[in-house]
């Protein structure tokens, strides 16, 4: 393995021998042109709109435009920090993500490992197709299904009923919301999420697996000592990325599932921003909240990346 790596670095050095940029440009004109389109895309749709965060510091009134609105400094940040919901929003947003990382993150890895152990290709393909079908169902439909299954005479309650339990009104009790959110998320995303791990698994050297088999490893030992370390870099990178969005919860699923009686656990930063910003036209306030959220995400990403760099020397930059 190490040798192979050395060879590779060696050859890459050869490739980067100095070529004049001008020559290079002339030679690959069309390639640069294609790249330019990408760059323009990022500039126009990602970087230019970032100027819009200005309105977090202004009392933005659309009719007057960004420049015409009055500066208010950190007023909206203060308003949010002193809001009665500040603590709760952060807690709900974080907890949903914590549970999702605890249960939702390992799920596709486990599925990929299980699929990898299958010998029947046909069965494997079938399982794979079935598990990623839900990913392609529109979120609105998924939420409709969830609401239906969890209603008083829905599937889940019928099962509870069958085993002699008493009816539970799931979507009116705050304690069930996170579970519903995370479990349905796993159901929807597990198959699609496993693709990247399956790809990583396919790159594992079969010689290693064979060698471990010869050395007397059983299946679990093989997974533990060969397969898992083999896909560890992928897992770590995916984890870093996931942890970088610890403060993100998509508002669509939340607003489709929640109601006032379960705000206690279901109201998250994005749904709050939606209610204040879009429904009430408080653009500045909701931008301030959104910006605060993005900053925390950004900070988290950097911190986790640094830790990973120190601990495992795997990092995204």
């Amino acid at each position: 393995m190490k040798q192979a790596a050395k060879q590779y670095t060696g050859s890459s050095k050869v490739m980067t021998t100095k070529i004049s940029y001008k020559k290079d440009f002339q030679k690959y004109k069309s390639v640069y042109l294609i790249a330019l389109i990408c760059l323009l895309y990022y500039f126009i749709f990602c970087y230019a709109p970032m100027g819009g965060i200005l309105i977090a510091f202004k009392n933005y009134r659309p009719a007057r435009g960004i420049w015409g609105s009055d500066w208010v400094g950190l007023r909206y940040f203060k308003q949010f920090f002193s809001s009665h919901y500040f603590y709760r929003l952060i807690r709900n947003t974080l907890l949903i993500n914590v549970y999702d990382v605890l249960f939702g993150f390992p799920a596709p890895i486990i599925l990929a490992l299980l699929l990898n152990e299958l010998t029947s290709q046909r069965f494997k393909k079938t399982v794979q197709t079935i598990t990623y079908l839900p990913y392609f169902i529109s979120l609105v439909v998924v939420c409709g299904i969830i609401l239906d299954f969890l209603s008083v005479d829905g599937l889940v309650n019928q099962i509870i009923d069958f085993f002699g339990g008493s009816t539970v009104v799931f979507l009116q009790n705050p304690k069930y919301f996170r579970t519903i959110y995370v479990v349905s998320g796993i159901w929807q995303n597990v198959g699609y999420g496993s693709i990247i791990y399956l790809a990583a698994l396919s790159a594992i050297d079969t010689q290693l697996l064979d060698a471990s088999a010869v050395d007397g490893c059983n299946r679990f030992q093989r997974i533990w000592h060969v397969t898992l370390p083999g896909i560890a870099p992928t897992i770590i990178i995916m984890l870093i990325l996931r942890l970088g969005s610890m403060m993100n919860v998509g508002f669509e699923k939340v607003i489709l599932l929640y109601n006032e009686s379960i705000y206690e656990t279901s109201d998250v930063i994005s749904s709050f921003v939606y209610r204040y910003g879009i429904l009430q036209g408080n653009y500045s306030y909701s931008t301030a909240v959104g910006l605060f959220n993005s900053l925390i995400n950004f900070a988290l990403l950097i911190i986790v990346n640094q830790i990973s760099k120190k601990v495992s020397s795997i990092s995204i930059w």
């Binding site: 709109p49 979507l171 970088g244 109601n259 009686s261 705000y263």
Partner: protein, 574 residues
């Protein structure tokens, strides 16, 4: 392996940058739209200039029949089985012909999420010529919309004013109307529907299955205690007579919480809206009324009902269609109902249960009397001559486009007797005829259509119900479709018997008031909605109420009531 990791890392770095950008783009899309707005608005100005020049040159021959003025009107569409666009209706075509205009209707197909849609349009900077909305939902209210240069203050311009003799004549004559629709300084920029008969406002309340009561030998309840007894009987006995005494849901509600809003007045409470304490005539909020005693009592009672299974277990999370499915499945005994619901539910029940079809009787009730001692209703329409905050305004675009004069003339015509007749009834001889007493009657073409029911068909010709247009409502036209069946009329009459002691006139705030008030009340209303639902559901205990009310105090509820009191005082002295 490490190298592979690095390669993957590189790949994923691009992924994260993309992802990061995507999310950033989402949060600041306002910015981008505002940026494009700038260019588009300059483009517009030049277009407007060009147009004003051309209209100036046309000015000479603008004596009369000239060209048709086309203008855009943003509002929810006509969401009916048989017709979906106002442009296709007879009355709009009549008005267009008469006033030499062409209305281009814009906006979502139905009223769902309309605030969201209209707020985005107003933020885009590219305004339609006329916009309908509840201006309380514009950040800062109507006053702010005028100050922001979106809405045209018609009353401030003598030329514009002179185009609307009927409207401004009505304002001078009708004290109630003037108070309702003008801002404190007399500004009139909003054109809403006007009531000619307040009784039309009696369209909301609650109804009970009288046939269930008859099955059990009970009387229509008139007090909260009697209601409780009736609901308990519904629960324990086989009220719907299908042989199963467990399938009845004595009372049901949906996530709009209308039933709760209409029951609360029995305790002297209005849900999530400030009102005058009937004893002291001071502005109060339901958590503050009688120091929270009534609030606690109300929630304790409803929680007890919920625990005893009298209330639909899913009342807080189900939507209205889920509730209606239970109603038309002969399961619900008592619920909130618009007058219009009585006919549709009765029909659906009769269709689903032919064996009891002739017995079905949903009975609209006079509000029950509770601890507050009066049959209070929560429907402000009983006392409102105009909707005030909800209506159409002309925007600065109409000035640029040079369409404003035609729009104002049209709106004024819509308030005249002639114009209102066209809106409410359609065209004489086509959709209605006058009988011997001079009363209007729908023609056969409207009432006896082979394909569509009368209540759908009528919308091809006229708009007898409320639709958010500038017009004078006609009680007769409205009653002809909303109070036709015996049960509808019964409900309408009973709703009208309610006491109006807790109702509020329409109030309009100025911008700073609106901003401060909304900031406090958005937080308060969220907290209170959550509180009252969790207490009823039992996920919070009644003992938690004082602590939570303290929290509401901290949010500044008293300050909000102070603001509202000020607005009310100004309304009274207006």
């Amino acid at each position: 392996m490490k190298v592979r990791g690095k390669l993957l890392a590189l790949l994923l770095t691009t992924a994260v940058v993309t992802g990061g950008c995507a999310s950033k783009g989402g949060s600041s899309s306002e910015g981008s739209s505002a940026a494009t707005q700038k260019t588009s608005s300059t483009a517009e100005t030049t277009a407007a200039q060009a147009e004003s020049e051309s209209s100036a040159s046309e000015g000479s021959d603008q004596s009369g029949q000239g060209e048709v003025t086309t203008f855009t009107y943003y509002r929810p569409g006509l969401n009916r089985n048989n017709i979906t666009s106002y442009s296709d209706t007879l009355w709009v075509q009549e008005l267009e012909k008469k006033m030499n205009v062409k209305i281009e209707f814009m906006g979502p197909a139905s009223g769902d999420d309309y605030n969201q849609a209209v707020n985005i349009v107003l933020a885009s900077g590219d305004y339609p010529d006329a916009v309908y909305m509840n201006w309380n939902n514009y950040n800062g209210g109507l006053r702010a919309a005028i100050d922001d240069g979106i809405v045209v203050d018609v009353s401030a311009n003598e030329t514009y004013k002179s185009l609307m003799p009927t409207w401004f004549g009505d304002l001078d004559e009708n004290e109630n109307l003037r108070r309702a629709v003008t801002l404190d300084d007399g500004t009139s920029a909003l054109f809403c529907h006007i009531e000619n008969n307040l009784k039309r406002g009696a369209y909301a309340g609650y109804g009970i299955r009288k046939d269930w009561l008859d099955n059990l030998g009970l009387q229509v309840p008139t007090t909260v205690d009697e209601l409780y007894n009736v609901l308990s009987k519904f629960k324990t006995e086989d009220a719907n007579g299908n042989g199963d005494n467990t399938d009845e849901i004595p009372m049901s509600d949906d996530s709009d919480h209308n039933l709760i809003s209409y029951l609360a007045p029995a305790w002297g409470l209005r849900v999530n809206t400030p009102y005058l304490d009937p004893d002291t005539q001071k502005m109060t909020y339901w958590t503050q009324y009688k120091d929270g005693e009534a609030f606690t009592d109300f929630l304790t009672t409803l929680h007890q009902w919920y625990e005893e299974g009298l209330i639909d277990p899913e009342f807080a999370s189900q939507d209205s269609s889920a509730k209606e499915a239970k109603i038309t499945n002969d399961q619900v005994g008592f619920t909130f109902a618009w007058t219009g619901n009585y006919a549709t539910w009765t029909d659906a029940l009769a269709e689903n249960f032919p064996s009891i079809a002739d017995k079905i009787d949903i009975y609209g009730m006079v509000p029950v009397v509770g601890p507050a001692g009066k049959a209070y209703t929560a429907n402000d329409a009983h006392v409102r001559y105009a909707a005030s905050n909800e209506g159409t305004c002309v925007t600065s675009s109409s000035v640029k486009d040079g369409t404003i004069e035609a729009i104002l003339k049209l709106f004024d015509y819509m308030y005249t007797d002639e114009g209102s007749e066209i809106i409410n009834w359609g065209e004489e001889g086509v959709s209605y005829t006058k009988d011997a007493d001079g009363k209007n009657q729908w023609t056969d073409a409207v009432t006896n259509d082979s394909e569509y029911s009368f209540s759908d068909k009528v919308f091809e010709y006229a708009l007898p119900t409320w639709g958010g247009f500038p017009k004078v409502m006609s009680y007769d036209a409205w009653a002809s479709i909303e109070a036709t069946t015996a049960s509808q009329q019964q409900a309408h009459e009973n709703y009208w018997k309610a006491d109006t002691g807790l109702l509020m006139p329409p109030l309009m705030m100025n911008q700073s008031e609106a901003e401060e008030y909304n900031q406090i009340m958005t937080d308060v209303n969220t907290a209170i909605s959550e509180l009252y639902l969790s207490v009823i559901l039992g996920t919070k205990s009644v003992d938690d109420i004082p602590a939570l009310l303290q929290q509401v105090d901290d949010m500044g509820i008293n300050r909000a009531m102070e603001i509202y009191q000020g607005v009310y005082d100004r309304y009274i002295s207006k």
